[in-house]
Symmetry: none
Subunit: 239 residues, 2 copies
């Protein structure tokens, strides 16, 4: 699923990385990049606000894709499974282009400014996941806290798997690395503490059968009161 991109934008990214690898990031100027790509400075800044941005050309699109993904179909999905799938979208962006991802990984490790830039990108992903979970957990005890903790855990697991793959120079199986890490998170936050992912999350066509009503009452409550509550609860449950 490659979204078509303007060729000039690609040419600028390619020229930039060629120079970063030959001379180093700090020693490369925007003028050098546009000269090699054969375009003017204004073209560069039309696509990239700064030299740092050309190092991470796909994150804005990926963040938008993730937000769109999380915005649809809320109630059909287990919230934790859903944010894990959202993290897999991010992985796909890296895995689509292994050579580029590995080069960037090495570059980012060497240049503190890029490391800081990357932290702010990671933060945007984490906040996107947390905002989705906060919506899903709204009204639950500690909903915000749980949302923030799970979002952080998913991002940490994703990055753990991603880094394993990047350190293998893109030789290992990126999806397997990240699936393994995310499965660990899903088990940790499984509502019933169970290890079996297939008992959780509704499959296709199950959405209508999700109604759950819970009533808690003191033992001393009269039976009519219990029945009344059951009826009232069944009455107001969503269809």
């Amino acid at each position: 699923m490659t979204v078509p991109k303007p060729p000039m934008r690609d040419a600028l990214v390619a020229a930039a990385f060629q120079l970063f690898l030959e001379r180093g990031y700090e020693q490369t100027t925007v003028d050098d990049i546009v000269a090699l790509a054969g375009v003017g400075r204004r073209s560069f800044f039309r696509y990239f606000p700064s030299k740092e941005d050309v190092v991470f050309p796909d994150h804005d699109r990926c963040l938008a894709d993730m937000t769109e993904f999380l915005g649809r179909g809320d109630d059909e999905h287990d919230p934790v499974a859903r944010v894990c799938d959202a993290a897999r979208l991010v992985l796909r962006m890296y895995a689509e282009n292994p050579t580029f991802s590995v080069q960037r990984y090495r570059l980012t490790k060497k240049v503190p400014g890029l490391r800081t830039y990357e932290l702010s990108v990671v933060w945007r992903y984490e906040r996107g996941l947390a905002e989705y979970l906060r919506r899903r957990f709204a009204g639950l005890p500690d909903g915000t806290l749980r949302a923030d903790v799970i979002a952080a855990a998913v991002v940490a697991a994703h990055n753990n798997g991603l880094r394993s793959w990047l350190r293998s120079d893109g030789e290992s199986d990126a999806s397997a690395e990240v699936d393994h890490a995310l499965a660990h998170v899903q088990r940790t936050f499984a509502p019933d503490g169970s290890d079996t992912p297939d008992t959780r999350g509704a499959g296709p066509g199950e959405a209508a059968a999700e109604d759950v009503v819970v009533l808690v009452s003191r033992r001393g409550a009269p039976m009519w009161r219990v029945v009344q509550e059951i009826e009232a609860t069944l009455e107001r449950r969503p269809d």
Copy 2:
């Protein structure tokens, strides 16, 4: 436990914040700060590499304290409890000086550069916790993954509690906020996966035994949905 600091360093921080509040961060120069503090530019840069650093004057010390804390007495402590205690050291730095912490929180929200700076500080704490846990989990299955996930969860929980306190303008109980958040993490990562009911919904020693729970659920309902409803119901039950 306040470590004595050179008065000139304190004077520079005080002058900087006075000007940040009066004129705004961007509109204040290092020259303005040193003029108000009555010292020379070189004195400023002896303590702070840049204007950003004066906003976060205590993190280096706090990171060093945390590293030292995690460096001693490894085998006597449960690893997860230990990193939670390390996070409490960071909280203490904030809670020791509520006015300053709240001012800085407001400033950081307004200035994107400071937000990025803060993310890199948070990352250093998270990495410190993860390195400790990686040592403790060395040789265990998925030791590195578990270390990274728990460190991220602890930092997220700490920050969730800290932000609640900061948003209350320092009026709420910082320790109580963060203890509550960290207790959630400790339960989540309890070694035996136990999640005994008395540590969750019900308060100490009461009603739990007297409650009757009625659950109505379609057969196809996913387990996460059932648990979510139970939790929501327990939260809103009358006392």
